[in-house]
Amino acid sequence: MVVFDKPKALADVSMHYCPGCTHGIVHRLVAEVIDELGIEGKTIGVAPVGCSVMAYNYFNCDMIEAAHGRAPAVATGVKRANPSEHIVFTYQGDGDLASIGMAETVHAAARNENITIIFINNAIYGMTGGQMAPTSLPGQVTQTSPYGRDVNHCGYPIRVCEMLSELEGPEYLERVTVNNVKNVNKAKKAIKKAFQNQIDGKGFSLIEVVSTCPTNWGMTPANALKWLDENMLPYYPLGVYKDRSAKEE
């Protein structure tokens, strides 16, 4: 009996991600959830600009490539075009979602737009070669913070889940990570809930996945996971930041 194989909603292609990049794991989790919920035929994904720009090639459902940061607005359009027949998700990195697209993110959340957002936070701009992200940690060395992120000069990293949790709008906000098997399974559960919420018409769900970028962090994949555990998770604590339905029940 097959106990593990590539999910059907994931295209049978080699992804362009660097060795050990956790994008691959999260792509697979999204595809597994699409399979398990049986929604591939009605799902439309929106890819960002950033490392996952070519996500449109990796999912077998319909896909749209959005302008940088605009995925929540595009998703709003797709969802509202046919709310009962379209399941819409965006897949965005930290630069896309929390910097250039912050307005689109916040307002989609405030509207409780009935979409699902998968937010990859790896504290760096990967595609352009490792520049400072809105989520780069204080002191973190990047191409554009070569002496370490100086919070007096360029401010503090943004905790997206905490920030959005102050809004009345959003239905569900959870921060997960994929640094070990247990956490990968928890991440999948959160992603599944985020899609189920949409199916149930509950509204805006955002899953922040604390992720790695071994190449631009300058580490082996294994060391990157260790660095994530020691440095990212203290600043970005895992957990559910908002679950409106649970509160009401």
């Binding site: 070519m54 896909m63 490539e65 302008a67 509202r80 075009a81 379209h86």
Partner: protein, 354 residues
Amino acid sequence: MADKVLMKGNEAIAESAIIAGCRHYFGYPITPQTEIAAYMAKRMPKIGGTFLQAESEIAAINMVYGVSSAGYRVMTSSSSPGISLKGEGLSYMAGSDLPALVVNVQRGGPGLGGIQPSQSDYFQATKGGAHGDFKMIVLAPSSVQEMAALTVKGFELADKYRMTAMILADGTMGQMMEPVELDFEVKPSPEKPWATNGTKMQRTHNIVNSLSLVPEELERLNFERFERYAIVERDEVMYEEYLMDDAEICIAAFGIAARVAKNAIVKAREKGIKVGMIRPITLWPFPKAPFKKAAEQVKHIISVELSMGQMIEDVKLASECKVPVTLCNRAGGMIPTPEQVLAHIEDIYSGGAK
């Protein structure tokens, strides 16, 4: 024949869009076009449509991008500064070959400018309006009736050629009231096999995308797109000729400027000066042929514009510089008067061409 109703230009656009089958409108408030949004906010919920006030012009055009990707007729509207913000989305829509209707009720610029009428976004509208090689179909109404008719036409052309159609109006056209007839025969939206509306597990996935990292491929897409544009230039040019049969002086004007010019022409004719007008209705594709023909007939062309002179460049190109082309203009929200245009005509007639 349907009854005529008295409507503002902006409202005529909104109602005509609904008649054309548009059920999704996204916008951001900006003077002098906000009546379109207000009208849609009232009407859309009553007919099962969607009106959504977006958080920004950028978000609005990207919501349009989303609905269009899913294969539905969709529109947004704004005024000059807002259209600049939409530029990114317009370029992406062109790169993804998505149809939509975008309305620009122009106001004076640059920058925040003013809120009075202008035609100073002619270059922006007709020469691309954002990064990359692309065109939009640009329609220039000169009456409230045309605001309505060109809105319907705009949706049809957008769908037919998978392009953005832009209504390039101005504050006067948007705000003024005239009787309109709204009994349009609407061509329904064509099949859109490219739309991302869910595979229903019956086809391979569709991708709406403007990214193409292989230059040979991106070049091919650009050439293909411009082959389509060439068909638009061949088949979709619209213009009106007014008293051109015996004209010795030709006025080039669109939108509100053409109405001012008509008054001046009538007065000039009363004085025995043979003036006619070519009024482009499509600004892109530009009506090159009539101006080329006019250049063989008239002694002079006057471009009447509410700008520092933008269409005049296309008039000069189309008339191949065979006759002098001069500018009669106001800018920054001011409108030329018939007297100003008449004075310009008389100046030319008496040999005082600049």
